[in-house]
Amino acid sequence: MLVNQFLIVAALLFAMGTYGLLVRRNTVMILLSVELMLNAVNINLVAFEAYLRTSEAIGQVFSLFVITIAAAEVGIGLAIVLMIFRNRQSANVDEYNLMKF
């Protein structure tokens, strides 16, 4: 089995996530971009596991953990965004400028 196609998909997803992270202005969209990056990792892990076939199936297991943790992160992230929205009526990252160099 070739893993290259999976790796390319994953790398593209990761790159898209990074791009979204840098250009998006809405915090929720940025959160989604981070999710994209995590899922790119998941694809990688599963593909490598299928390729390597280790006895513990650690790649599959890890991807489950990553999914769980991503859910936890989104939970916390949305809570923080809500809190900010309540304080400022906006979720635009450009306005997080109280503290600057």
Binding site: V3, F14, G17, L21, T27, I30, L31, V34, M37, L38, A40, V41, N44, L45, F48, Y51, L52, T54, S55, I58, G59, V61, F62, F65, V66, I69, A72, E73, I76, G77, A79, I80, V81, M83, I84, N87, R88, V93, Y96, L98, M99, F101
Partner: protein, 500 residues
């Protein structure tokens, strides 16, 4: 794979994770008790302190166990493996892990005492704050004590997610929630980068267990060098975020400035300990033979951190921001020891231990002067502090001089140690950069001392700090001075702490 193999129960060594269990269960109990009985906040605080103390006691038991293990003979090998690598070698019980726990628990205790006024202010949310603090300590301790990249990642997330929430726990303050979102966004990106590196390392070596990776790499000429090298680099970058090394530091000043004053010292120190513990573990255990590859990368990050942190700290008018950038510089100093490889472990741990104590103490003073639930601490608030609050000014001076690395403080011994190791490893240029950066750093530490001792006081009176704050600050400055004069015991203790 036969059925019997699948059913083989994992080897269990409760003692290896006893401190983590104590903290985790303690956090749950605190939340439950708070819901059920609404105890007084003082009682909650004492209970938290007791939990930390219990965990510390278990860590001492572990230290004793590690001592015994280190003398294990060949015929006790099976016993050794069962005790030292329980849970199918997901966890390791070695001096490195134990020292990490010591540092982490000391910082937790000090941070709790120094920031106690914050928890009083939090009112009904005090229990949540305390539980989060314990949980984050649990996570970072796992980072120090696991030999499996998955466990490292889990520990990292448990610790970090708790810290994101702590950063925004005074939710009415806009600076505080801004700090939380910045920390959260950059932190989760760092996690994603880190696990991308984990995945690539897995692809390159076929394992996530650091000891197995080392074995595989030692036995074979590795098959996918590029993949493996990118994996190492990405993991270093991910950890660089956590320890706020330049150029991945941009969150640190904002978080240090915006997060509630009482907790920020703990947050900064805990993230540094966790990040460096994992970095030491990954680089020294799994990739000792690749030191010629990752050494220059780490050295470059170190040099950039020291220079950038020191110079940018010069122009800060907010003490917390200044400490944030000085934290970047200190990450660079510690990385200076990391480039020496396994030989420098003791010096790196020593530096981490003494620096994080100074950090918690310094933020304790800042919180006592400008408020435990507020954001920011302009240097104006410190003018003439020696007349208004001599105790706070004196302890702050000791801690700042310790961070600056003046002789007769622990900071000097720490700096000297990492410089010697780096020079020994052949990084002469890095040592020159480091000594110059530490001279630049004198400027901004001295600026605070000038403000406290040589300028006219502002009118604001400083509320006298509570007993717990006073005790923790006195302890932090005492450690700074005593370790500076008698560094031997701690140096030997840290010197034992090389990972298995």
């Amino acid at each position: 794979m036969t059925f019997a193999q699948v059913l083989t129960p994992p080897s269990v060594g409760w003692i290896a994770i006893a401190p983590e269990i104590v903290l985790g269960v303690g956090a749950a109990l605190i939340l439950l008790f708070d819901v059920q009985y609404k105890p007084k906040r003082t009682h909650l605080g004492l209970a938290t302190a007791a939990i930390v103390a219990t965990a510390f006691a278990f860590a001492i038991v572990q230290y004793d166990r590690v001592q015994t293990l280190s003398q294990a003979t060949a015929d006790q090998a099976a016993d050794f493996v069962a005790t030292a690598f329980p849970f199918d070698a997901m966890i390791v019980l070695d001096a490195n892990a134990v020292f990490g726990r010591f540092a982490m628990l000391l910082v937790t205790g000090l941070g709790l005492a120094a920031g106690w006024r914050l928890f009083e202010r939090l009112g009904a949310r005090a229990a949540e704050g305390l539980a989060l603090m314990l949980l984050s300590a649990t996570g970072f301790m796992f980072m120090a004590s696991s030999t499996h990249l998955m466990m490292v990642f889990l520990g990292l997330e448990v610790g970090s997610i708790a810290l994101y929430v702590l950063a925004g726990i005074t939710r009415e303050r806009t600076e505080s929630d801004e700090a939380a979102i910045k920390y959260f966004l950059l932190g989760s990106v760092a996690s994603a980068v880190f696990i991308y590196g984990v995945a690539l390392t897995y692809a390159g070596s076929g394992s996530m267990n650091l000891l197995e990776i080392q074995g595989v790499l030692a036995r074979n000429i590795f098959t996918r060098p590029a993949v493996l090298l990118i994996g190492i680099a990405l993991m270093v970058v991910g950890m660089g975020f956590k320890v706020s090394a330049a150029p991945f530091h941009s969150w640190a000043p904002d978080v240090y400035q915006g997060a509630p004053g009482g907790i920020v010292g703990y947050m900064a120190a805990a993230a540094k300990i966790g990040g460096f513990a994992a970095l030491i573990r990954i680089l020294f255990t799994a990739f000792p033979d690749f030191i010629s590859t990752w050494g220059p990368l780490v050295a470059g990050i170190a040099a950039l951190s020291m220079l950038l942190g020191s110079t940018v700290a010069l122009v800060q008018d907010d003490i917390r921001r200044m400490l944030g950038y000085s934290g970047v510089a200190h990450a660079g100093f510690i990385l200076t020891g990391v480039v020496a490889g396994g030989a420098g472990t003791g010096e790196v741990w020593f530096y981490l231990g003494v620096y994080t104590v100074q950090l918690v103490g310094a933020f304790g003073v800042v919180a006592a002067v400008t408020g435990a639930a507020t954001s920011g601490a302009g240097i104006d608030a410190f003018r003439g502090l020696s007349k208004r609050a001599p105790f706070l000014a004196a302890t702050f001076t000791v801690l700042l001089l310790g961070m600056a690395g003046l002789p007769l403080t622990s900071g000097f011994v720490a700096k000297f140690g990492v410089f010697t190791e780096a020079w020994q490893a052949g990084y002469e240029w890095l040592v020159i950069v480091a000594v110059l950066a530490s001279v630049i750093a004198f400027f901004f530490y001295l600026r605070v001392i000038v403000a406290m001792y040589m300028e006219e006081p502002v009118d604001e009176a400083v509320a006298p700090p509570g007993i717990s704050v006073r005790a923790s600050l006195a302890l932090a400055s005492l450690i700074t001075i005593v370790i500076g004069i008698v560094p031997g015991p701690l140096l030997s203790l840290a010197g034992e702490a090389s990972p298995l």
